[in-house]
Amino acid sequence: MIPQLIVSGMAVGILYGLVALGVVLIFKSTNILNFAHGELAMVSTFFAYTLLTNLHLPYPLAVILTLVFAALIGYGIERFITRPFIGSAQMTVVIVTLGLFLSLGVVAMWIWGKDPLTFPSMIPDKPINIQGIVFSSLNLLILLISCLLMVLLYLFFRFSTMGIAMRAVADDMEGARLMGISIARIFSLSWILANMIGALSGILLAPIIYLDVNMMQVVILKAFVAAVLGGFTSMPGVIVGGILLGVMENFVGAYISSQFKNAFPFLIILFVLMIMPQGIFGQLRRKKV
């Protein structure tokens, strides 16, 4: 039982980590905490659902079109909604993303309805037997795709000019600007990339947790927990934070009580903020006063 709990916890946890990665990506380069990240991912997931079940597109094509859609939405929101607020108080932009959070759920409900839908999964969910331990094939696929995505992201941030420029802006915005990096372009790029990661995590999550307009409300909280564990600064830390949360949550659900499982993420937030606000990997970001 324990290996299954670990693997299924890792599969869900890595998705929390991916959602959190989008949040941290935007936060690091633009200093905006995007509360609407989950809702945006939910909208993209519904878009993928329409492509798959109403238009009967093949899976890879639907995923690619959804990523394009997510990129456009991300760009649109950065360009027309948050960019005018560059230079305002952090709280103001947080409230703007809350406004998005409030609106997107209802808009999605108008388009796709209230009822939970079954999202088709990439492969049929068959149990796979590895040395006497049974794993779900869906969980293994999630782990595989997530690892692939992280390798791609690592290469992007390590070697591409754009990726290096994004890291430079996250480190020191003024310095990066003086080096001739266009801040506006980096902001757009962060939103585009974050929203694409969000869409992908939505597509991977939906077959496990059903597709409905409220699907991301709890997930985004868990993503924040993952981000807090990762210290809000370290990208690998965020993924590790997500995996830790997913595994711990599974154990709490299995050995303590399933009701406590729901309260668990919040307790972790309080605990981490009290004992180790820098998270597991991040540097301490105290109030800049």
């Binding site: 709280m91 809350l98 406004g99 609106s103 309260a263 919040f266 937030i269 009290m274």
Partner: protein, 319 residues
């Protein structure tokens, strides 16, 4: 005409107490002349003005909470249960409920407030989501998802069982909250809040203990929200967990943003907007549109009218 109006305005603005007294007297008479439906909307609006004011104190120190619906719920459930299970008198339960919300606020807020501002947002978001879960799971106490029927308010044997009676209890309570808030703003604490709003860096440099005053603002905010929640429970007579969702929290934020941040008039206007709008939308048959309207108004107002609706009046009078 316009000239005489503006000179009248000038006369009033030099005598704010007189102006406010006339306004209060005027509002106090309104319920006598309207039907029971309007009395209901007015009472609800006043209840939300208190909650909106609670949020405004917090926003006035450059912080935001997404968890105030949880304090609203704590106020509502605590005072309902104190009366039902322990036989508290209504007024005692009201104040205890506010106090309990404040204490829990302190426990949630303290770990987050020492850190960057975003952490309070995250911690309070977690809190409101968990609070709804707890209200459902702890059904022995809260009657779970079925909701709780709450006894109507009464003062020393005098039952506040009609909309009109409740109004004449609620209205002075709301005014007391505003007066307390206004008096706080004239004290050292209030000036520290104002300094935090304008520039936390300068405030720190002037020797203001930033974390401490942010915590005080958060606790005050929780107190007023809890008070408002208790009034809500005893007025409406029925509470259930979905009422206190994260969306209620965000509507508290939208009240403050739409009405105008940092002022009492802004809290009042924002709460009126957010209470009356759904009633209009229900009449138009578009109930679900309200979240979209709040969401979009919040973004547009922050962009084009940072002072909120209240700023619009200021602009017209040439301030």
């Amino acid at each position: 005409m316009i000239q005489s109006l503006s000179s009248l305005r000038g006369w009033f603005s030099r005598r704010p107490v007189f102006g406010w007294s006339v306004l209060i007297l005027f509002v106090a008479l309104i319920p006598l002349f309207v039907g029971s439906y309007f009395r209901y909307v007015i009472n609800l609006a006043i209840i939300f003005i208190i909650a909106s004011y609670g949020m405004n104190i917090l926003v006035g120190t450059n912080q935001v909470s997404i968890g105030n619906a949880a304090f609203f719920a704590i106020g509502a459930y605590a005072s309902a249960l104190l009366i039902q299970k322990l036989g508290f008198p209504f007024f005692g339960a009201l104040l205890t409920a506010g106090g309990l919300a404040a204490v829990i606020g302190l426990m949630i807020g303290l770990p987050a407030i020492r850190l960057e501002d975003i952490y309070l947002g995250i911690a309070t978001m977690g809190f409101v989501l968990i609070c709804e879960q707890i209200l459902i799971s702890w059904s022995g106490l809260t009657n779970g998802a079925n909701g709780l029927t709450v006894t109507k308010a009464s003062l020393g044997g005098w039952a506040l069982n009609t909309d009109l009676k409740f109004f004449y209890f609620l209205f002075p309570v709301a005014i007391s909250c505003m007066v307390i808030g206004r008096n706080i703003s004239k004290t050292k604490t209030g000036r520290a809040f104002a300094a935090l709003r304008m520039s936390p860096i300068a405030a720190q440099a002037m020797g203001i203990n930033v974390a401490r005053y942010k915590a005080i603002a958060f606790v005050l905010s929780a107190f007023f929200t809890g008070l408002s929640g208790s009034l809500f429970a005893h007025y409406v007579g029925f509470i259930d967990p979905p009422t206190f969702s994260i969306f209620l929290s965000i509507s508290f934020v939208s009240m403050v943003v739409i009405g105008g941040m940092g002022t009492i008039a802004g809290s009042i206007l924002g709460a009126l907007f957010v209470t009356i709008l759904p009633e209009i939308l229900v009449m138009l048959g578009a109930k679900e549109a309200q979240r979209v309207v709040y969401g979009i108004s919040m973004i547009l107002i922050l962009r084009f009218l940072p002072q909120g609706i209240q700023g619009l009046f200021g602009r017209w009078s040439g301030k």
